[in-house]
């Protein structure tokens, strides 16, 4: 027998339902294997570079030391189930990011196999256009897989669970810097910027549920110190370098396009 779940006016589950009972299936929660990412239509203002045609990569294919970082916020006093937290997180995902960083999600929402575009500034101000693929998504979590050229090779999992009768929202990354340039940046301070990014995201999520100035717990574990020199060649795909070069050469491309157009034979 199942018990109907209770929902808020926004459809956010508030009380326990029966979905966690019995055998579960993960069949439709995983993306299909793809050899290259395909990005859907993007808004005209978006800088769409370094996603289309790139291969998704796992932490095993990166260059730098492997890190597992966990950021957690306890939603004290908030009456919401983990499924309610994830529903909100999926629907409002870009709104929780720090200012100046844009996430152009798929029109169909965060679902397995969908690809999103990221426009952001690297620490130091260098622009970056890259993306992510939704590798896994269910009612209590979703995971992004990064493509070649992204700062990190790996997975970022957003999840929620219940502890001491209250919901806990969590971001967990399992990553290596994708190439030597990113690894250097990571060691020179980008690691701290990444911490601030996810701490801000979790505080914004908590604020959505009415918790101002929520405390974010951070835990970092170095899973593997070793550098994978065989992956140093990943630098070829470095999205930071490619985005900067693209923007620097933009003034040159307009006249070239005009010349090409003029030299085309008319029929």
């Amino acid at each position: 027998m199942t018990t109907p779940s209770t929902s808020s006016s926004e459809g956010i589950p508030l009380d326990a339902d029966s979905s966690s009972e019995g055998k579960r299936s993960d069949t439709d929660k995983w993306a299909r294997k793809v050899s290259a990412l395909k990005l859907g239509p993007m808004p005209s203002g978006a800088l769409n570079l370094n996603v289309q045609g790139k291969q998704p990569v796992s932490p095993l294919q990166g260059f730098g030391s492997m890190w597992q970082k966990t950021y957690r916020v306890r939603l004290k006093g908030v009456k919401v189930l983990p499924t309610g937290v994830i529903k909100v997180w999926k629907e409002h995902f870009p709104e929780f990011w720090p200012k100046g960083n844009r996430f152009y999600g798929p029109l169909t929402g965060i679902a397995p196999g969908e690809v999103g575009l990221i426009n952001m500034a690297l620490p130091g101000g260098a622009p970056l256009s890259t993306g992510v693929m939704v590798m896994y998504a269910d009612e209590e979590s979703f995971t992004f897989m990064t493509p070649q050229g992204h700062m990190f090779a790996g997975w970022i999992t957003f999840s929620a669970y219940e502890e001491d009768e209250r919901a806990v929202a969590q971001v967990q990354v399992l990553i290596r810097a994708n190439d030597p340039i990113y690894e250097l940046g990571f060691r020179l301070g980008a690691a701290r910027s990444e911490d601030h990014f996810w701490q801000h995201t979790l505080r914004s999520l908590a604020a959505y549920f009415g918790l101002e100035e929520a405390q974010v717990e951070t835990q970092a574990i170095c899973v593997d110190r070793k550098l994978q020199w065989s992956q140093a060649k990943n630098v070829w795909h470095n999205a930071g370098v490619r985005t900067t070069l693209y923007l620097m050469t933009t003034p040159m491309r307009a006249p070239l396009r005009w010349m090409r157009k003029r030299s085309r034979p008319t029929t």
């Binding site: 966690s20 055998k23 579960r24 299936s25 993960d26 069949t27 929660k29 995983w30 993306a31 299909r32 294997k33 990569v57 796992s58 932490p59 095993l60 294919q61 492997m66 597992q68 590798m135 896994y136 269910d138 979590s141 995971t143 897989m145 997975w155 999992t157 999840s159 669970y161 219940e162 502890e163 967990q172 399992l174 899973v223 593997d224």
Partner: protein, 119 residues
């Protein structure tokens, strides 16, 4: 956190190889059980760990993350990790997540054991 819905049993089939039979769900909650099974399976001369996925019922992305950290731990000791009993669905997940690049997959226990005993 809810309790792990997984049962792991260890079989030390030879001095060189141990099999870990997985039954149930591999999620973040299986971390303690999986690392304990690894410790139990790790004999003084164990070179190969073989994961038996034939009774795997559910695995999410956190579960795959656990397998990566286990793999790194095993590789650090210059040991190897094999797998068998994966359904088409879980083989596909191993390929999607590129775990198949690092964990050798076999169709049966006998094949995995053969490979484990081939120096």
């Amino acid at each position: 956190m809810p309790p792990a819905k997984v049962t792991l049993s260890v079989r030390q089939v030879s001095a060189r190889a141990s099999i870990i039979d997985i039954q149930g769900e591999v999620t973040a909650f299986a971390e303690h059980a999986l690392m304990e099974a690894y410790t139990q399976a790790n004999g003084p001369s164990t070179r190969v760990f073989i994961l038996n996925f034939a009774s795997l019922e559910y695995m999410n992305s956190s579960g795959i993350g656990l397998l990566v950290t286990l793999l790194i731990r095993i590789n650090r000791q210059k040991q190897r990790l094999f797998a068998f009993g994966l359904s088409d669905h879980y083989r596909h997940i191993f390929e999607l997540t590129r775990l198949s690049d690092a964990i050798k997959m076999y169709d049966s226990e006998a094949e995995a054991l053969d490979a484990a005993h081939t120096p």
